[in-house]
Protein backbone atom coordinates (compact mmCIF):
# COMPACT_ATOMS: atom_id res chain seq x y z
CA UNK A 1 0.00 0.00 0.00
CA UNK A 2 2.81 2.36 0.95
CA UNK A 3 4.24 2.66 -2.59
CA UNK A 4 0.95 4.13 -3.80
CA UNK A 5 1.11 6.93 -1.27
CA UNK A 6 2.17 10.21 -2.84
CA UNK A 7 2.82 11.92 0.50
CA UNK A 8 5.35 9.22 1.37
CA UNK A 9 7.36 9.76 -1.80
CA UNK A 10 9.80 12.35 -0.40
CA UNK A 11 13.41 11.28 -1.01
CA UNK A 12 15.79 13.19 1.32
CA UNK A 13 18.99 14.24 -0.54
CA UNK A 14 21.33 17.18 -0.52
CA UNK A 15 20.70 18.71 -3.93
CA UNK A 16 20.11 22.23 -5.26
CA UNK A 17 16.39 21.56 -5.62
CA UNK A 18 16.14 19.93 -2.16
CA UNK A 19 17.76 23.00 -0.61
CA UNK A 20 15.33 25.37 -2.32
CA UNK A 21 12.57 27.02 -0.29
CA UNK A 22 9.30 25.04 -0.39
CA UNK A 23 7.38 28.24 -1.29
CA UNK A 24 9.52 28.73 -4.39
CA UNK A 25 9.04 25.11 -5.41
CA UNK A 26 5.25 25.21 -4.99
CA UNK A 27 4.98 28.52 -6.87
CA UNK A 28 7.26 27.40 -9.70
CA UNK A 29 5.45 24.06 -10.06
CA UNK A 30 2.17 25.93 -10.55
CA UNK A 31 3.88 28.38 -12.92
CA UNK A 32 5.29 25.44 -14.93
CA UNK A 33 1.76 24.17 -15.70
CA UNK A 34 0.73 27.63 -16.94
CA UNK A 35 3.95 28.01 -18.95
CA UNK A 36 3.59 24.63 -20.68
CA UNK A 37 0.19 25.67 -22.01
CA UNK A 38 1.91 28.62 -23.69
CA UNK A 39 3.87 26.15 -25.83
CA UNK A 40 2.33 25.58 -29.24
CA UNK A 41 5.11 24.18 -31.41
CA UNK A 42 7.76 21.44 -31.43
CA UNK A 43 10.65 23.84 -30.67
CA UNK A 44 8.88 25.03 -27.53
CA UNK A 45 8.27 21.44 -26.40
CA UNK A 46 11.91 20.58 -27.11
CA UNK A 47 13.06 23.46 -24.89
CA UNK A 48 10.58 22.51 -22.14
CA UNK A 49 11.73 18.88 -22.37
CA UNK A 50 15.40 19.81 -22.05
CA UNK A 51 14.61 22.21 -19.20
CA UNK A 52 12.63 19.50 -17.33
CA UNK A 53 15.43 16.96 -17.77
CA UNK A 54 17.93 19.56 -16.48
CA UNK A 55 15.75 20.16 -13.39
CA UNK A 56 15.35 16.43 -12.71
CA UNK A 57 19.13 15.96 -12.93
CA UNK A 58 19.57 18.80 -10.41
CA UNK A 59 17.52 16.80 -7.87
CA UNK A 60 20.18 14.02 -7.72
CA UNK A 61 17.32 11.49 -7.82
CA UNK A 62 17.81 8.80 -10.49
CA UNK A 63 15.86 9.14 -13.74
CA UNK A 64 14.58 5.60 -13.04
CA UNK A 65 12.51 6.98 -10.13
CA UNK A 66 10.84 9.48 -12.45
CA UNK A 67 10.15 6.79 -15.04
CA UNK A 68 8.62 4.64 -12.29
CA UNK A 69 6.29 7.55 -11.54
CA UNK A 70 5.14 7.64 -15.17
CA UNK A 71 4.82 3.82 -15.59
CA UNK A 72 1.44 3.39 -13.81
CA UNK A 73 0.00 6.08 -16.07
CA UNK A 74 1.18 4.56 -19.38
CA UNK A 75 -2.23 3.02 -20.12
CA UNK A 76 -4.02 6.28 -19.40
CA UNK A 77 -1.54 8.28 -21.47
CA UNK A 78 -1.90 5.85 -24.41
CA UNK A 79 -5.69 5.99 -24.17
CA UNK A 80 -5.66 9.80 -24.06
CA UNK A 81 -3.30 9.98 -27.04
CA UNK A 82 -5.55 7.65 -29.09
CA UNK A 83 -8.66 9.61 -28.11
CA UNK A 84 -6.90 12.82 -29.12
CA UNK A 85 -5.87 11.23 -32.42
CA UNK A 86 -9.29 9.86 -33.38
CA UNK A 87 -11.55 12.67 -32.16
CA UNK A 88 -9.78 15.75 -33.54
CA UNK A 89 -12.49 17.81 -35.21
CA UNK A 90 -10.31 19.58 -37.79
CA UNK A 91 -7.33 19.12 -40.13
CA UNK A 92 -6.46 17.21 -43.29
CA UNK A 93 -7.92 13.68 -43.05
CA UNK A 94 -5.22 10.97 -43.32
CA UNK A 95 -7.37 7.94 -42.42
CA UNK A 96 -11.10 7.51 -42.01
CA UNK A 97 -13.26 4.64 -40.71
CA UNK A 98 -16.87 4.93 -39.38
CA UNK A 99 -16.88 7.73 -36.73
CA UNK A 100 -13.09 7.65 -36.38
CA UNK A 101 -10.82 9.86 -38.44
CA UNK A 102 -7.13 10.58 -38.08
CA UNK A 103 -6.15 14.06 -39.20
CA UNK A 104 -2.73 15.71 -39.40
CA UNK A 105 -3.75 18.18 -36.66
CA UNK A 106 -5.10 15.33 -34.52
CA UNK A 107 -1.82 13.44 -34.91
CA UNK A 108 0.23 16.49 -34.00
CA UNK A 109 -2.03 17.25 -31.01
CA UNK A 110 -1.67 13.64 -29.82
CA UNK A 111 2.13 13.98 -29.78
CA UNK A 112 1.90 17.35 -27.99
CA UNK A 113 -0.54 15.94 -25.39
CA UNK A 114 1.77 12.97 -24.81
CA UNK A 115 4.81 15.21 -24.25
CA UNK A 116 2.83 17.69 -22.09
CA UNK A 117 1.42 14.86 -19.95
CA UNK A 118 4.85 13.35 -19.30
CA UNK A 119 6.48 16.73 -18.58
CA UNK A 120 3.79 17.81 -16.08
CA UNK A 121 4.00 14.45 -14.28
CA UNK A 122 7.82 14.71 -14.15
CA UNK A 123 7.74 18.27 -12.78
CA UNK A 124 5.13 17.48 -10.12
CA UNK A 125 7.24 14.45 -9.17
CA UNK A 126 10.20 16.84 -8.71
CA UNK A 127 8.13 18.76 -6.13
CA UNK A 128 7.00 15.68 -4.15
CA UNK A 129 10.41 13.94 -4.31
CA UNK A 130 12.35 16.95 -3.07
CA UNK A 131 9.94 18.53 -0.57
CA UNK A 132 8.66 16.93 2.63
CA UNK A 133 4.85 17.03 3.07
CA UNK A 134 5.24 19.23 6.16
CA UNK A 135 7.37 21.71 4.20
CA UNK A 136 4.64 21.81 1.52
CA UNK A 137 2.06 22.46 4.28
CA UNK A 138 4.22 25.29 5.65
CA UNK A 139 4.61 26.76 2.18
CA UNK A 140 0.87 26.61 1.59
CA UNK A 141 0.25 28.36 4.92
CA UNK A 142 2.59 31.16 3.88
CA UNK A 143 1.09 31.44 0.41
CA UNK A 144 -2.43 31.53 1.87
CA UNK A 145 -1.55 34.46 4.18
CA UNK A 146 -3.18 37.11 1.93
CA UNK A 147 -6.47 35.33 2.65
CA UNK A 148 -6.20 36.52 6.28
CA UNK A 149 -7.52 39.86 4.99
CA UNK A 150 -10.87 38.24 4.19
CA UNK A 151 -10.79 36.51 7.62
CA UNK A 152 -10.03 33.07 6.16
CA UNK A 153 -8.75 30.88 9.06
CA UNK A 154 -5.29 30.36 7.53
CA UNK A 155 -3.55 29.23 10.74
CA UNK A 156 -6.33 26.81 11.66
CA UNK A 157 -6.38 25.27 8.19
CA UNK A 158 -2.60 24.96 8.21
CA UNK A 159 -2.67 23.29 11.66
CA UNK A 160 -5.34 20.89 10.42
CA UNK A 161 -3.21 20.10 7.37
CA UNK A 162 -0.16 19.40 9.55
CA UNK A 163 -2.19 17.14 11.89
CA UNK A 164 -3.72 15.33 8.89
CA UNK A 165 -0.31 14.70 7.32
CA UNK A 166 1.08 13.55 10.67
CA UNK A 167 -1.72 11.01 11.11
CA UNK A 168 -1.79 9.52 7.60
CA UNK A 169 0.96 6.91 8.28
CA UNK A 170 -0.65 6.01 11.64
CA UNK A 171 -4.06 5.53 10.06
CA UNK A 172 -2.49 3.55 7.23
CA UNK A 173 -0.86 1.12 9.68
CA UNK A 174 -4.18 0.84 11.44
CA UNK A 175 -6.00 0.10 8.16
CA UNK A 176 -3.52 -2.66 7.40
CA UNK A 177 -4.00 -4.15 10.89
CA UNK A 178 -7.80 -4.04 10.57
CA UNK A 179 -7.66 -5.57 7.08
CA UNK A 180 -5.43 -8.42 8.30
CA UNK A 181 -7.80 -9.04 11.21
CA UNK A 182 -10.77 -9.14 8.81
CA UNK A 183 -8.89 -11.42 6.41
CA UNK A 184 -8.22 -13.80 9.30
CA UNK A 185 -11.99 -13.89 9.81
CA UNK A 186 -12.43 -14.85 6.15
CA UNK A 187 -13.43 -11.54 4.54
CA UNK A 188 -12.64 -11.37 0.80
CA UNK A 189 -11.85 -7.80 -0.29
CA UNK A 190 -10.92 -8.42 -3.92
CA UNK A 191 -13.91 -10.29 -5.34
CA UNK A 192 -17.67 -9.97 -5.54
CA UNK A 193 -20.25 -7.52 -6.80
CA UNK A 194 -20.77 -3.95 -5.69
CA UNK A 195 -22.96 -4.82 -2.65
CA UNK A 196 -20.47 -7.45 -1.46
CA UNK A 197 -17.60 -4.98 -1.80
CA UNK A 198 -19.45 -2.29 0.14
CA UNK A 199 -20.22 -4.86 2.84
CA UNK A 200 -16.52 -5.83 2.96
CA UNK A 201 -15.51 -2.19 3.35
CA UNK A 202 -17.83 -1.43 6.28
CA UNK A 203 -15.95 -3.60 8.86
CA UNK A 204 -12.75 -1.76 7.89
CA UNK A 205 -14.13 1.74 7.91
CA UNK A 206 -16.11 1.59 11.17
CA UNK A 207 -13.04 0.76 13.34
CA UNK A 208 -10.92 3.14 11.26
CA UNK A 209 -13.31 6.06 11.81
CA UNK A 210 -13.91 5.17 15.47
CA UNK A 211 -10.18 4.90 16.24
CA UNK A 212 -9.51 8.16 14.40
CA UNK A 213 -12.18 9.85 16.53
CA UNK A 214 -10.69 8.37 19.70
CA UNK A 215 -7.27 9.74 18.72
CA UNK A 216 -8.75 13.14 17.86
CA UNK A 217 -10.48 13.39 21.23
CA UNK A 218 -7.25 12.39 23.05
CA UNK A 219 -5.21 14.88 21.03
CA UNK A 220 -7.80 17.60 21.66
CA UNK A 221 -7.64 16.88 25.41
CA UNK A 222 -3.82 17.04 25.33
CA UNK A 223 -3.91 20.36 23.46
CA UNK A 224 -6.45 21.82 25.88
CA UNK A 225 -4.40 20.60 28.87
CA UNK A 226 -1.34 22.41 27.46
CA UNK A 227 -3.34 25.61 27.10
CA UNK A 228 -3.64 25.66 23.30
CA UNK A 229 -5.97 28.41 22.17
CA UNK A 230 -7.35 29.03 18.72
CA UNK A 231 -7.10 32.59 17.33
CA UNK A 232 -3.93 33.45 19.30
CA UNK A 233 -0.67 34.45 17.57
CA UNK A 234 1.71 31.49 17.36
CA UNK A 235 5.47 31.08 17.23
CA UNK A 236 6.90 28.72 14.61
CA UNK A 237 9.04 25.60 14.98
CA UNK A 238 9.96 25.31 11.28
CA UNK A 239 10.93 28.64 9.69
CA UNK A 240 11.06 29.01 5.91
CA UNK A 241 14.00 31.04 4.58
CA UNK A 242 14.11 32.50 1.07
CA UNK A 243 17.65 32.24 -0.35
CA UNK A 244 19.41 33.68 -3.37
CA UNK A 245 19.05 30.31 -5.13
CA UNK A 246 15.24 30.68 -4.92
CA UNK A 247 15.39 34.10 -6.57
CA UNK A 248 17.74 32.59 -9.19
CA UNK A 249 15.30 29.77 -9.90
CA UNK A 250 12.48 32.30 -10.34
CA UNK A 251 14.64 34.32 -12.75
CA UNK A 252 15.43 31.18 -14.79
CA UNK A 253 11.69 30.46 -15.01
CA UNK A 254 11.09 34.04 -16.13
CA UNK A 255 13.78 33.68 -18.81
CA UNK A 256 12.22 30.41 -19.97
CA UNK A 257 8.85 32.11 -20.28
CA UNK A 258 10.36 34.97 -22.35
CA UNK A 259 12.08 32.46 -24.70
CA UNK A 260 8.83 30.53 -25.15
CA UNK A 261 6.85 33.71 -25.88
CA UNK A 262 9.46 34.72 -28.51
CA UNK A 263 9.27 31.24 -30.08
CA UNK A 264 5.47 31.32 -30.06
CA UNK A 265 5.12 34.73 -31.68
CA UNK A 266 8.23 35.22 -33.81
CA UNK A 267 9.47 31.78 -34.95
Amino acid sequence: MMNKLIVGRFVPKDSFVHRMDARAKVLLSIAYIFIIFEVTNWLGYLIMGLFTIAVTSLTKVSLKTYIQGIKPLIWLITFTVFIQMFFAPSGHVLWNYWIFKVTDIGLLNAVYVLVRFILIIMMSTVLTLTTSPLAIADALEYLMKPLLKIKFPVYEVSLMLSIALRFVPTLMDETERIMNAQRARGVDFANGGIIKRVKALVPILIPLFTNAMKRAIELGDAMEARGYQIDKPRSRYRILVWHRRDTMACLVFGLLLIILIIIKHFI
Binding site: L76, V113, M160, T175, L201, V202, G220, M223, Y228
Partner: protein, 201 residues
Amino acid sequence: MAITKIKKLVLTALFMAIILLQTQIPFLGYIPLGAVAVGVFATIIQFTIAIATIILGTKSGIIIGGFFGIISFIRAWSNPGSIGALIFQNPFTAIGARIMIAIIIGWFAKRYLINSPQNQLFFKLSLAGLLAAFVNTASVVMTTWLGFNVMHTTYNGIPNSNLFHWLLISVVGFNGIAEMLVGMIYVPLITQPLLKHIKNS
Protein backbone atom coordinates in the same frame (compact mmCIF):
# COMPACT_ATOMS: atom_id res chain seq x y z
CA MET B 1 -20.39 14.95 24.47
CA ALA B 2 -19.96 18.65 23.91
CA ILE B 3 -17.38 19.05 21.15
CA THR B 4 -15.09 21.95 22.04
CA LYS B 5 -13.58 24.20 19.36
CA ILE B 6 -10.17 22.51 19.64
CA LYS B 7 -11.63 18.99 19.50
CA LYS B 8 -13.66 20.00 16.45
CA LEU B 9 -10.49 21.29 14.80
CA VAL B 10 -8.62 18.04 15.52
CA LEU B 11 -11.59 15.89 14.42
CA THR B 12 -11.74 17.85 11.16
CA ALA B 13 -8.00 17.23 10.70
CA LEU B 14 -8.46 13.50 11.29
CA PHE B 15 -11.26 13.40 8.71
CA MET B 16 -8.89 15.17 6.32
CA ALA B 17 -6.31 12.45 7.05
CA ILE B 18 -8.93 9.77 6.26
CA ILE B 19 -9.75 11.55 2.97
CA LEU B 20 -6.05 11.67 2.11
CA LEU B 21 -5.80 7.96 2.87
CA GLN B 22 -8.86 7.18 0.73
CA THR B 23 -7.46 9.11 -2.24
CA GLN B 24 -4.14 7.32 -2.01
CA ILE B 25 -5.33 3.76 -1.34
CA PRO B 26 -7.77 3.01 -4.18
CA PHE B 27 -9.44 0.15 -2.29
CA LEU B 28 -10.57 2.50 0.51
CA GLY B 29 -11.89 5.29 -1.67
CA TYR B 30 -13.12 3.73 -4.90
CA ILE B 31 -15.12 0.61 -5.76
CA PRO B 32 -14.20 -0.55 -9.28
CA LEU B 33 -17.19 -1.25 -11.54
CA GLY B 34 -15.40 -2.39 -14.69
CA ALA B 35 -13.25 -0.28 -17.03
CA VAL B 36 -11.07 1.33 -14.35
CA ALA B 37 -8.75 3.15 -16.80
CA VAL B 38 -11.75 4.98 -18.26
CA GLY B 39 -12.84 5.88 -14.75
CA VAL B 40 -15.81 3.56 -14.23
CA PHE B 41 -15.88 3.21 -10.44
CA ALA B 42 -18.04 4.29 -7.55
CA THR B 43 -16.25 6.91 -5.46
CA ILE B 44 -17.07 6.65 -1.78
CA ILE B 45 -14.97 9.61 -0.59
CA GLN B 46 -17.89 12.02 -0.90
CA PHE B 47 -19.63 9.97 1.81
CA THR B 48 -16.77 10.75 4.19
CA ILE B 49 -17.58 14.43 3.56
CA ALA B 50 -21.27 13.71 4.24
CA ILE B 51 -20.47 11.76 7.44
CA ALA B 52 -18.12 14.52 8.67
CA THR B 53 -20.80 17.14 7.94
CA ILE B 54 -23.43 15.18 9.88
CA ILE B 55 -21.10 14.74 12.87
CA LEU B 56 -19.18 18.04 12.91
CA GLY B 57 -21.44 20.49 11.12
CA THR B 58 -21.48 22.38 7.83
CA LYS B 59 -18.36 24.51 8.39
CA SER B 60 -16.13 21.47 9.01
CA GLY B 61 -17.84 19.70 6.11
CA ILE B 62 -16.97 22.57 3.78
CA ILE B 63 -13.31 22.48 4.89
CA ILE B 64 -13.16 18.69 4.36
CA GLY B 65 -15.01 18.94 1.03
CA GLY B 66 -12.72 21.73 -0.13
CA PHE B 67 -9.70 19.67 0.91
CA PHE B 68 -10.90 16.67 -1.14
CA GLY B 69 -11.60 19.02 -4.04
CA ILE B 70 -8.09 20.47 -3.94
CA ILE B 71 -6.58 16.95 -3.85
CA SER B 72 -8.71 15.92 -6.88
CA PHE B 73 -7.67 19.09 -8.69
CA ILE B 74 -3.95 18.58 -8.04
CA ARG B 75 -4.13 14.89 -8.95
CA ALA B 76 -6.08 15.60 -12.14
CA TRP B 77 -3.19 17.79 -13.31
CA SER B 78 -0.22 15.87 -11.97
CA ASN B 79 -1.22 12.24 -11.61
CA PRO B 80 -4.71 11.43 -12.99
CA GLY B 81 -5.57 7.79 -12.39
CA SER B 82 -8.16 7.58 -15.17
CA ILE B 83 -9.74 9.38 -18.11
CA GLY B 84 -12.68 10.31 -15.85
CA ALA B 85 -10.28 12.02 -13.43
CA LEU B 86 -9.33 14.51 -16.17
CA ILE B 87 -12.60 16.39 -15.76
CA PHE B 88 -11.42 17.48 -12.32
CA GLN B 89 -8.86 19.71 -14.04
CA ASN B 90 -11.73 22.19 -13.89
CA PRO B 91 -11.53 23.74 -10.37
CA PHE B 92 -15.29 24.38 -10.31
CA THR B 93 -15.88 20.66 -10.84
CA ALA B 94 -13.20 19.49 -8.42
CA ILE B 95 -13.75 21.89 -5.54
CA GLY B 96 -17.22 23.37 -6.09
CA ALA B 97 -19.00 20.01 -6.37
CA ARG B 98 -17.48 18.73 -3.11
CA ILE B 99 -18.30 21.91 -1.19
CA MET B 100 -21.89 21.61 -2.45
CA ILE B 101 -22.13 18.17 -0.77
CA ALA B 102 -21.26 19.73 2.61
CA ILE B 103 -23.72 22.60 2.14
CA ILE B 104 -26.66 20.39 1.12
CA ILE B 105 -25.98 17.63 3.65
CA GLY B 106 -25.46 20.28 6.36
CA TRP B 107 -28.90 21.67 5.57
CA PHE B 108 -30.41 18.16 5.46
CA ALA B 109 -28.84 17.21 8.81
CA LYS B 110 -30.10 20.39 10.48
CA ARG B 111 -33.58 19.97 9.05
CA TYR B 112 -34.15 16.21 9.32
CA LEU B 113 -31.44 14.44 11.36
CA ILE B 114 -31.03 16.45 14.56
CA ASN B 115 -33.40 15.12 17.24
CA SER B 116 -34.62 12.43 14.85
CA PRO B 117 -36.24 9.43 16.60
CA GLN B 118 -33.91 6.42 16.79
CA ASN B 119 -36.21 4.18 14.70
CA GLN B 120 -36.15 6.68 11.79
CA LEU B 121 -32.43 7.42 11.90
CA PHE B 122 -31.31 4.60 9.58
CA PHE B 123 -33.80 5.58 6.90
CA LYS B 124 -32.90 9.29 7.13
CA LEU B 125 -29.18 8.54 7.01
CA SER B 126 -29.84 6.40 3.91
CA LEU B 127 -31.52 9.40 2.34
CA ALA B 128 -28.50 11.54 3.30
CA GLY B 129 -26.23 9.02 1.51
CA LEU B 130 -28.41 9.10 -1.60
CA LEU B 131 -28.53 12.89 -1.50
CA ALA B 132 -24.73 13.19 -1.12
CA ALA B 133 -24.17 11.01 -4.21
CA PHE B 134 -26.87 12.85 -6.16
CA VAL B 135 -25.51 16.31 -5.29
CA ASN B 136 -21.98 15.22 -6.20
CA THR B 137 -23.00 13.74 -9.56
CA ALA B 138 -25.34 16.60 -10.44
CA SER B 139 -22.74 19.26 -9.55
CA VAL B 140 -19.97 17.43 -11.44
CA VAL B 141 -22.12 16.96 -14.57
CA MET B 142 -23.36 20.56 -14.44
CA THR B 143 -19.94 22.18 -13.96
CA THR B 144 -18.40 19.89 -16.60
CA TRP B 145 -21.14 20.76 -19.07
CA LEU B 146 -20.69 24.46 -18.28
CA GLY B 147 -16.93 24.08 -18.69
CA PHE B 148 -17.23 22.46 -22.12
CA ASN B 149 -20.18 24.34 -23.58
CA VAL B 150 -20.22 27.76 -21.97
CA MET B 151 -16.58 28.43 -21.10
CA HIS B 152 -15.31 26.30 -24.06
CA THR B 153 -12.42 24.97 -22.02
CA THR B 154 -10.22 22.17 -23.31
CA TYR B 155 -7.95 20.60 -20.77
CA ASN B 156 -4.81 18.52 -20.89
CA GLY B 157 -5.68 15.37 -22.84
CA ILE B 158 -9.34 16.20 -23.42
CA PRO B 159 -9.90 16.78 -27.12
CA ASN B 160 -12.38 19.42 -28.22
CA SER B 161 -14.91 16.85 -29.42
CA ASN B 162 -18.59 16.77 -28.63
CA LEU B 163 -18.69 12.98 -28.70
CA PHE B 164 -15.84 12.72 -26.22
CA HIS B 165 -17.44 15.27 -23.90
CA TRP B 166 -20.60 13.16 -23.88
CA LEU B 167 -18.53 10.03 -23.22
CA LEU B 168 -16.98 11.70 -20.16
CA ILE B 169 -20.31 12.95 -18.84
CA SER B 170 -21.83 9.47 -19.40
CA VAL B 171 -19.05 7.90 -17.33
CA VAL B 172 -19.80 10.36 -14.51
CA GLY B 173 -23.55 9.67 -14.81
CA PHE B 174 -23.08 5.89 -14.75
CA ASN B 175 -20.81 6.17 -11.71
CA GLY B 176 -23.37 8.47 -10.07
CA ILE B 177 -26.14 5.85 -10.19
CA ALA B 178 -23.85 3.24 -8.59
CA GLU B 179 -22.74 5.80 -6.00
CA MET B 180 -26.34 6.56 -4.98
CA LEU B 181 -26.87 2.86 -4.33
CA VAL B 182 -23.61 2.60 -2.37
CA GLY B 183 -24.37 5.79 -0.41
CA MET B 184 -27.73 4.47 0.78
CA ILE B 185 -26.00 1.47 2.37
CA TYR B 186 -22.69 3.01 3.38
CA VAL B 187 -23.68 6.27 5.14
CA PRO B 188 -26.08 4.80 7.75
CA LEU B 189 -23.85 1.79 8.41
CA ILE B 190 -20.87 4.05 9.23
CA THR B 191 -22.60 7.06 10.76
CA GLN B 192 -24.82 5.26 13.28
CA PRO B 193 -21.95 3.65 15.26
CA LEU B 194 -19.98 6.91 15.08
CA LEU B 195 -22.88 8.91 16.56
CA LYS B 196 -23.20 6.27 19.27
CA HIS B 197 -19.45 6.45 19.92
CA ILE B 198 -19.56 10.25 20.30
CA LYS B 199 -22.55 9.98 22.62
CA ASN B 200 -20.74 7.44 24.81
CA SER B 201 -17.41 9.30 24.88
